[in-house]
Amino acid sequence: MKAETLLLAVGIEAGYGRVQVLWGIDLAVLERETVVLLGANGAGKTTLLKTLLGLVPAWRGAVRFLGEEVTAWRTDHRVRRGMAYMSETAVFPGMTIEENLLIGGQFLSGSALRRRTGELYAIFPALGERKRALASSLSGGQRKMLGIAKALAGDPRLLVMDEPSAGLSPLFVKEVIRVLEQFRSRGLTLLVAEQNVKFLELADRVYTLEGGRIGFAGTVAAMHENDALKRAYFGLK
């Protein structure tokens, strides 16, 4: 079975104001695949993800999703089509757990949304127990879990995540990876931007981002052979 290309970005250039951040990025995510985008702070990970989602306009290049050119689409249209995005903040702190999920699943019909939140509460029992609690009352790790649940509430085809490990203790990083593994095994397609190399455990393929350009693209094993990891991540030595 040949996997379908879910997301394809070609020759992306983008930036803020007059400052260019991305310089000709090519990137593909196949169906049911987990792709990790590895790079240091400031390498342009967030900008790339935001460009893919339409939060930052692409100066040049094209983004295709599910066979359609979406470069000029608004973010909400892309999300409605099946792209979900988990930002670093991930949740609305002033709103309850349940409300966060309802917002995440805004494009589902009432019954589908109820079914979906039910499923998510089953997967995240800690959230199910405190539906009415404000997200701001959750610990950092739980908040990330809620972020994941919120992003998945709309039953997306592709989940794009910006540094799920940010601000988490190693124990919770492990937990996040475990949860993602679980969704991955159910067929979710993932694109994760990370600094934390632990996430390589999840990866089918890796891209490294260095100064707004793709440094390496390939499997984890190939990357280790290639020394790309050290170049991208450790800087010196």
Partner: protein
């Protein structure tokens, strides 16, 4: 006198809440300051006036018409003005100027269309509506002031109070019990995160904008009964009062408006009773005091400081 003043403050305070409610919703969702708020209220008042004079439509059903019409008018208006404003460097400040200009335009157009004389709707119309409602509910009521906790108040106050309370309740239900309301609150909480989540922020904001001016129009329907008469120039005073109300409550938190309105109403009525010539000074002092002690208003959550 004390009890009467207190009760009057409470009842009128509810109406003040309605005055500020839409303005606060707009600020909460868009972080823009609608200095034309009072002018929308004035337009709502004129609408009620014409409905009454041309179609003999009682102000109470007029509330629904005003709400619907202004909601519909608000949507295109949003797309005309706000997205461009939000793209500027300092939208919060520039909104002051933009909507000041807009208020001038509205007042000018209203003046050309309606002239400058005071207008109002006969006070009896409200009493008749109340009598009709009372007979539906099998209550004994004959047109005239209504007795309330041993004090007698104009029936319009009660009507305005009830409509205000209903409006607040509906806004609460909208924000906390409907999907669109969740999305609206999401935008209020963080515009950035809302966009990232895939919320059509402009659609949500446009609806909030529409509701904001529709609420102003609803408050406008009661102007002839609560504020005497309607003139095209009345907007400025109303805008300033609304600001005092929502800042005292909490800027950006629509439900804080209720607290602000009642506090404003009660303190205003007390000033009127005991130091009447100073009555207009108090709101400003109250506003400044509240801002200095709790910059985010009495019900505000996060503290904003430079």
């Amino acid at each position: 006198m004390l009890i009467y003043t207190l009760l009057a403050g409470l009842l009128f305070g509810l109406y003040f809440s309605l005055m500020g409610l839409g303005l606060n919703l707009m600020f909460g969702v868009m972080r823009i300051v609608n200095l034309a708020h009072g002018d929308f209220l004035m337009l709502g008042a004129f609408l009620a006036f014409w409905l009454f004079n041309l179609f003999a439509l009682n102000p109470i059903p007029g509330v629904a018409v005003a709400f619907a019409l202004f909601l519909l008018a608000g949507l295109p208006l949003y797309y005309l003005l706000v997205p461009r404003l939000l793209a500027a460097r300092d939208p919060e400040m520039l909104s002051f100027i933009l909507f000041f200009g807009f208020s001038q335009v509205i007042e000018a157009v209203a003046t050309i269309a309606f002239g400058t004389s005071e207008r109002s709707i006969p006070g009896g119309s409200m009493a008749r509506a109340a009598a009709a409602v009372a007979s539906l509910l099998d209550l004994a009521y004959r047109p005239g002031p209504i007795a309330f906790l041993g004090q007698s108040f104009p029936v319009a106050w009660l009507a305005a109070g009830i409509v205000s309370a209903l409006a607040v309740l509906l806004i609460y239900v909208y924000l906390y019990r409907t999907r669109l309301g969740y999305l609206t609150r999401a935008v209020m909480a963080s515009r950035e995160e809302a966009i990232s989540t895939g919320i059509d922020v402009h659609r949500v904001s446009a609806i909030a904008f529409g509701i904001g001016i529709a609420l102003a129009a609803v408050a406008g329907v009661f102007v002839p009964f609560m504020l005497g008469s309607i003139t095209p120039a009345m907007g400025v005073d109303v805008t300033i009062t609304s600001f005092a109300v929502i800042v005292i409550g909490s800027l950006g938190n629509p439900l804080g408006t209720v607290l602000g309105g009642i506090l404003y109403g009660v303190s205003y009525m007390f000033m009127q009773s005991y130091y009447s010539s100073w009555a207009n000074l108090l709101p400003y002092l109250l506003l400044i005091a509240v801002l200095l002690v709790r910059p985010s208003g009495l019900l505000g959550r996060q503290v904003r400081r430079a």
